[in-house]
Amino acid sequence: MAEKLNIDQIRADFPVLHQQVNKAPLIYFDNAATTQKPKAVIDALSAYYEQDNANIHRGIHTLAERATTAYELTRKKLSSFLNSPSTDQIIFTSGTTAGINLVAQTFGRANVGKGDQIIVSNLEHHSNIVPWQMIAEEKGAEIKVIPVSDAGVLDIEAFKALLNPKVKLVAVNHVSNAIGTINPIEEIISLAHKVGAKVLIDGAQSVAHLAVDVQSLDMDFFVFSAHKLFGPTGVGVLYGKRELLESMPPYQGGGEMIKEVSFAGTTYNELPYKFEAGTPNIADVIAFGAALDYVQAIPSEALAAQEEALLAYATQKLQAIPGLRIVGTAPEKIAVISFVIDGVHPQDIGVLLDKFGIAIRTGHHCAQPLMQRYELVGTCRASFSFYNTFEEIDRFVLCLEKTLQMLG
């Protein structure tokens, strides 16, 4: 039996949760869009600017030293968080999208040629589709798509049939942002490797909910954003296998990424700096370190148990609403519920729930190909985090019923 979380104590750590929105207590069920930040992260951000602000790596003065140490400490924490074989395989980006574009423009440009194939899935966010379409168009390569079942599960048999030596890269998410499905990435990676394809896993939606061990999963590339893991916006992480990162050409040119520059030619810096041109987002990287400390201090079984219980409770209560259909009923899913209601446009539900102080997401969730697959204009999505409560779900369901009466 997992230790139970003290939810009141946890909620006290998140200042934003304690406010009235439209004269009602805020219920924040849009955690898949971004998670809220604990006080420790907000404090780390202001402490950095109040005490340590300096540019990193180049200065020899004390502040530069402090800032550099704190910045590099987050990299070390991430290395251990992901079980990376070394710290220099952790590259800071501005977010998941930037990480995917980096891999597309470096690995993709160097390894994808005319007639080659890139496989994505029908569950992807636009940010894990469009960068591949761009490189495929440029190179004359083809995009192939792993189909998804009515329940929201990827068709692995169809994936096997798509695999062949022309496939250079497979790009899939660990967890679907729109409907919460947890994809069998271990199997996907191992199948892709059999035909010599590399795999990029978009972990934007998984890192806050599932443990990720890049070595045991034999991960080639793993990308995610800090802001979906209780950290600040504007920071992302790219993990890559050493031989891949070393063989990839640099992405952006500038300061920091060089070893020596002359007009006769420039040599590039070592990993990870080769991919970190310019002054990085120092303050937010440092504050992200505080987010990692915060979330790792919570017993992971208890965290998972709380989220699973919230999912089960909300699923059961929502299913009781006449005309409501849950979109995405995969057996393996995180605490995300996408739903539609007969004859009601999702936007109307979102607008009225906001009036009740409830934040959910409505629309296509930047996954239009998935909406097309289900012939939907969009869905309503409630996404939970461990700081959400059963009482919030009760009030959400009550307000949803009131909303439907108003729209009825």
Partner: protein, 138 residues
């Protein structure tokens, strides 16, 4: 000549002034949406569509004598309620009146958020499009 634009705006402000809480106000808005005169399917064309990020709006305009007459529709009922008010205020007026209109009622009845959601519902584009039609017809 129809009723002046500002007189219609004042009427709407008065109607909404009757409601104290937001739920009553929105029920009225939803009701206006439901009562919006249906748009002929012939006008629901790709050319007439205004794409919002979450819902679509269709807008058709024609000139009847000196006046511009609008027809519109949306997939979302709250947007339809907003459309119904915009049509009530702007339709059946001359291009010059439409171009000179200051739509202050939206703010006064507390519905400006629906015009602030620039990407989600297409209403801002709809108002602009109504003015473009007026300009084209003037």
């Amino acid at each position: 000549m129809g009723q002046p634009i500002n007189e219609i705006q004042e009427e709407l402000i008065e109607e909404f002034g009757l409601f104290e809480d937001w739920a009553d106000k929105y029920e009225y808005l939803i009701d206006l949406g439901k009562k919006l005169a249906p748009m002929s399917d012939a006008f629901k064309t790709e050319e007439n569509v205004i794409k919002g990020c979450q819902s679509r709006v269709w807008l058709h305009a024609e000139k009847q004598g000196d006046l511009v007459v609008f027809q519109a529709d949306s997939e979302a009922i709250i947007v339809k309620g907003m459309i119904s008010m915009l049509i009530r205020v702007l339709s059946n007026h001359t291009p010059a009146e439409i171009l000179a209109a200051d739509l202050y009622f939206i703010d006064q009845i507390g519905m400006s958020q629906h015009l602030a959601q620039t990407r989600s519902n297409g209403l801002v584009s709809m108002v602009k499009q109504m003015q473009h039609y007026a300009l084209a017809f003037s």
